[in-house]
């Protein structure tokens, strides 16, 4: 059960309404972590902007960006983030079998080196807190310097989002299947 109340518009302050307007302008609706974050509108505003950068201004191509977000979502066991971004990854060209392996927590068989490089980088960072030079260099070869920066920007936003979704038990939208893992690790 959700651990938060979704504010109706007549419960919102002017600041909260203004953040809602920004969310609707950039994303079409107020979803995911934002109904929780809106309780602290300054947080929602900062996350709306950082997330907007990480998602819409990233120099990482959508296939690799959405795959990276899926790996982060799976690591933290964040339901809404996983269902939303694994679908975006698939729409952007990720092989469903690779996403299924990530969902199952098993190592995917990669055909594309760039996907393998991003996966190896993130799994090393998330599971061991560090990345050796060879793994870093392969990811850098796949994404470029700006891509590495944008990857860590996405990591910042989606780590905050993951922990918010999990801690406040944000349910997956109606009609979506709840993932077979989490919430949390």
């Amino acid at each position: 059960m959700a651990r938060f109340e979704t504010l109706s518009s007549d419960q919102m302050t002017a600041e909260q309404k203004s953040v809602c307007d920004d969310l609707i302008a950039s994303r079409g609706s107020v979803r995911g972590p934002f109904p929780v974050m809106l309780h602290n509108p300054g947080l929602a505003a900062a996350a709306e902007k950082l997330g907007g950068y990480a998602r819409f201004k990233s120099k990482i191509e959508p296939r690799l960006l959405e795959f990276a977000v899926s790996v982060i979502a799976r690591f933290w066991g964040a339901h809404v983030e996983w269902v939303a971004h694994s679908r975006l990854a698939q729409e952007a060209g990720m092989d469903p079998a690779i996403l299924k392996a990530v969902e199952d927590g098993s190592r995917p068989d990669f055909i594309n080196d760039d996907e393998e490089a991003v996966y190896a980088f993130l799994t090393s960072l998330l599971n061991t807190t560090k990345v050796d030079d060879a793994t870093y260099d392969r990811c850098m070869a796949a994404l470029g310097e700006r891509g590495m920066i944008d990857l860590m920007a996405a990591n910042t936003h989606y780590t905050v989002v993951s922990m918010t979704l999990n801690s406040f038990r944000v349910p997956v939208p109606e009609g979506w299947e709840t993932p077979p893992f989490g919430p949390g690790r």
């Binding site: 651990r3 938060f4 929780v36 974050m37 309780h39 602290n40 300054g42 947080l43 505003a45 900062a46 996350a47 902007k49 950082l50 950068y53 201004k57 690591f75 933290w76 066991g77 964040a78 960072l125 807190t129 560090k130 990345v131 870093y136 310097e145 700006r146 590495m148 920066i149 944008d150 860590m152 920007a153 990591n155 910042t156 780590t159 905050v160 989002v161 993951s162 922990m163 918010t164 999990n166 801690s167 406040f168 989490g182 919430p183 949390g184 690790r185």
Partner: protein
């Protein structure tokens, strides 16, 4: 730095913002540099007090490593009133002795969040009863943010500044 980067840097310095750690890398993309500051600035001055935020920061950075982040957050923790004994215990991965109920609630929740990214039913109930919804929400966001700060300084191999007195134990 080019002109745009220099302008973003000067703006942030003028407002007392942060230019070290991952920000030293993010300055290459001025828009990201500014937006990352905005989230950090929000967390530095909101529902959660400086003391509780810094307690969460050191617990998180200890879990995720990142020597630069330990130096910076350890310094800020001492400044916010966290004792050297608490800092040393967290650094040594020992359970600190906390006399304050808010400190204990933040320590317990931050440790669980940094490790699992979530809170069990019992932990959530305990945390929200002690801290309030708004403080807990800022706490959750702080642990997420400092997790990513620690990860970023590790990835980009940002070296601790020589003037840092807090040194991350192995």
């Amino acid at each position: 730095m080019n002109e745009e980067q220099g302008q973003a840097y000067d703006e942030v310095v003028a407002r007392g913002g942060r230019v070290g750690g991952p920000n030293g890398v993010y300055i290459r993309v001025p828009e990201l540099f500014r937006l990352n500051q905005e989230l950090g600035n929000y967390l530095r001055d909101n529902h959660i007090s400086a003391r509780l935020r810094q307690l969460a920061a050191i617990v998180t950075v200890r879990h995720w490593n990142g020597a630069y982040a330990w130096g910076a957050q350890g310094r800020d923790a001492l400044k916010a009133g966290i004792s050297q004994e608490i800092l040393d215990a967290v650094n040594a991965r020992q359970t600190p002795i906390l006399d304050d109920a808010d400190d204990q609630a933040v320590y317990d929740a931050a440790l669980e969040l940094a490790d699992t990214g979530s809170l069990s039913d019992a932990s959530f109930e305990k945390a929200i009863a002690q801290l309030s919804f708004n403080v807990l929400l800022d706490l959750v966001a702080s642990v997420g943010f400092f997790t990513a700060v620690a990860q970023a300084v590790s990835v980009f191999e940002v070296e601790p500044r020589p003037e840092f007195t807090a040194t991350l134990a192995p």
